[in-house]
Amino acid sequence: MIPLVFELGRPGRRARLQAPAEDPALDDLPPALLRREAPALAEVSELDAVRHYTRLSQRNYAIDTHFYPLGSCTMKYNPRASNRAALLPEFLALHPLAPEEDLRGYLTCLLELEEMLAVVTGMRRVVLNCMAGAQGEFAGVSIIRAYHRARGDEERREMLVPDAAHGTNPASAVMAGFRVREIPTRPDGDVDLEALARALGPHTAGIMLTNPSTLGVFERRIVELARLVHEAGGLLYYDGANLNAILGQVRPGDMGFDVLHLNLHKTFSTPHGGGGPGAAALGVHERLLPFLPHPFVVDDPKEGPRWSRPEDAPRSIGRLASFHGNAGVLLRAWVYARLLGREGLRSVGPYATLNANYLAVRLRALGYELAYPTRRAGHEFLVTLRREAKTYGVTAMDVAKRLLDHGVHAPTTYFPLLVPECLLIEPTETESQETLDAFVEAMAAIRREMAEDPERLRGAPWTTPVRRLDDVRAARVLDLAWRSGGASSA
């Protein structure tokens, strides 16, 4: 175990370069805001600190070090060129409150990104002011609510969500004030249209759909589905979680969707290991333009690019954050889209799905059961270990943990909930065939262990800095923060 940086400390030890001046001028601060006691910081030398954090970083699993087939998360390579552009001092030093005439270059990049995203999604307009995917969902369903209200359609308070939708969808709908009604999925993975038709009515606000779904398969009857929802007076929300499978091949706008969000940190390859920062693009159909959240970028024919003003979206759902989106993430996505260009963006989906289907076929040949064997995979696919759980007493979690010993980040486990003992595997388009083959070899070795030495799986991982963690105890006995003196807070 690596000790905490606090445990390395010795009283009075300092890193001089990092320490503040001994007597900083504080006389211009309100006395009520001054600390009475010095904060409990780790007292280590600069070298101790550097070694400590370097060591920690070496123990990380990251896309830069390991294959990372975490289904539904699209952990693709983040090009260095995107970072380089976003770190240019001319971008980095911009202040969010800088006058618009100092922001024209940055705003022009955003306008270009908006335009490219509108083209690949088939939306009338895309804005970039959502801080992450879940906020994009919230903005999207809030726009649906505002649209119905503006028409005096107050009864439309029910949001339909298929059980194969992205997990955050029901939460976003509830946050926006909707009742959620779940729509079942047929055994072949498509939405049950008969059940949908029964659920539709004058109370229907819309439906939130992920396509391909979290089952890894494309909703084949999407056009008919869209017609049913529109005829009932509802709108269609597209969750862009899985856009990577269809990027440049099919457009959500052409399928009949009215509003969508894209996760730029997935499909447009910005960093998101460790939870963020994310960035969502929000796209709308023509009739939803008046409801867009402020601020967004307007291409003013007289002034040039500028921030939106109230009259640019008169019935706006409001502001979602103090400022406009995550600037650095948006710049990285812009560079990524420019790097790939039209042809490159068109090849993302085919290669992502080719890699997923290659893995699916090879794992099936090893004896693994595909959850939807009759369907071609999108950019990800589901393996179910329900037979192995019965025969060998080995669970999806055991396999996931054993993969760590093989130098592979575990796939997503136990999601979606409707498939027992599942692994959701998404290789992305940026992995070579050799990497995919090495993963297949690891899964073959694990399969042999199930029969020969299942304890080896149940005790995994064996080679990581910490062994299997007691996640049950961690959840039951919360210990969330370090406190000086050994006490921990719950």
């Binding site: 909930l417 027992p420 996640d471 049950v472 959840a475 039951r476």
Partner: protein, 133 residues
Amino acid sequence: MSSPPPSDRRYTRTHEWLRAENDGTYLLGITDHAQSALGDVVFVEVKPAGTAVEAGGSVAVVESVKAASDVYTPFAAEIVAANADLAQRPEVLNQDPYGEGWILRLKPAEGSDPGAGLLDASSYGRSLEDAHD
């Protein structure tokens, strides 16, 4: 392997059980199959006593290391009491889902039909087999 569902109560397709008590209330819990699918339960949150819930409405949330799942009442009812023991020892829900691991007590709303659409033990058992083979 799951133990067979006891025959002194009725079941929903969403894996709740309901047992009629002598005082006209119903005890509600989740089945052995449900607790086994959820895995180790770490938290059980019940809506406050006195809450009125429509048929099909959520009355509690059971959180495990894998997922957080709603627990539904099949008939319109008022929540009378929660199993206070589960707040301190959620693992009881895994150990004894049909006994000490009951979740809450419900009083059927006036005019609601607590028996409607519920499965008996053998039908519920069969529905599990159908789903898994």
